[in-house]
């Protein structure tokens, strides 16, 4: 297993601004994932972040809106750019292991006014 921390745990932001979410893992991992989740609903994969290469984005998500950094094997950031109220959600990072079993951070609850 892996222990994952995220910062901030929650934030309230004004529309048009950007927020960077940090994800720190207690061990080196190859694959990190960023998800979005509405409370009580399932997960939507935003992108896969591999160290040393560009992130791979899922349909409906673009790099200009959700730039991702992966500077090393224990850390990644997701930026939500030019925010609108529609970006209000819970953002989760996770790491994958054998059978792609995933371990998640506690999430960042974002509210955009």
């Amino acid at each position: 297993s892996a222990v994952i921390s995220q910062k901030p745990s929650r934030d309230i932001c004004q529309r048009g601004t950007s927020l960077t979410i940090q994800c720190q893992v207690d061990s080196q991992v190859t694959m990190m994932f960023w998800y979005r989740q509405q409370p009580g609903q399932s997960l939507t994969l935003i992108a896969t972040a591999n160290q040393g290469s560009e992130a791979t984005y899922e349909s409906g998500f673009v790099i200009d809106k959700f730039p991702i950094s992966r500077p090393n094997l224990t850390f990644s950031t997701l930026t939500v750019s030019n925010m609108s109220p529609e970006d209000s959600s819970i953002y989760l990072c996770s790491v994958g292991t054998v059978y792609n079993e995933q371990f998640f951070g506690p999430g960042t609850r974002l509210t955009v006014l």
Binding site: M31, Q41, L43, T48, Y99, F104
Partner: protein, 111 residues
């Protein structure tokens, strides 16, 4: 496109009752995982099933993978209020790194 249909989406029952949550697909999965998520936290892995027909038990929770590896079920015996949460199934899809997620089952156990 691989899909996982999870049902029911919402279930509210009394403590002590039994329940079953289903995940079904027309596609074959190499493995299937079940997670539980509580408010304010990320999902936590409960179990991974890999072999068709496999049954795994975790205390009062019984997980089964269908013989054809297209479906799975989670059965809870004598549910407790501590079982309350969002249950998610996720299948290992065609891509070797991507999970296919079910819609989730919001479970409330009333004391």
């Amino acid at each position: 496109t691989q899909l996982l249909e999870q049902s029911p989406q919402f279930l509210s029952i009394q403590e002590g009752e039994n329940l079953t949550v289903y995940c079904n697909s027309s596609s074959v999965f190499s493995s299937l995982q079940w997670y539980r998520q509580e408010p304010g936290e990320g999902p936590v892995l409960l179990v991974t099933v890999v072999t068709g027909g496999e049954v795994k038990k975790l205390k009062r929770l019984t997980f089964q993978f269908g013989d054809a590896r297209k479906d799975s079920s989670l059965h809870i015996t004598a549910a407790q209020p501590g079982d309350t949460g969002l249950y998610l199934c996720a299948g290992q899809g065609d891509s070797n790194y991507q999970l296919i997620w079910g819609a989730g089952t919001k479970l409330i156990i009333k004391p």
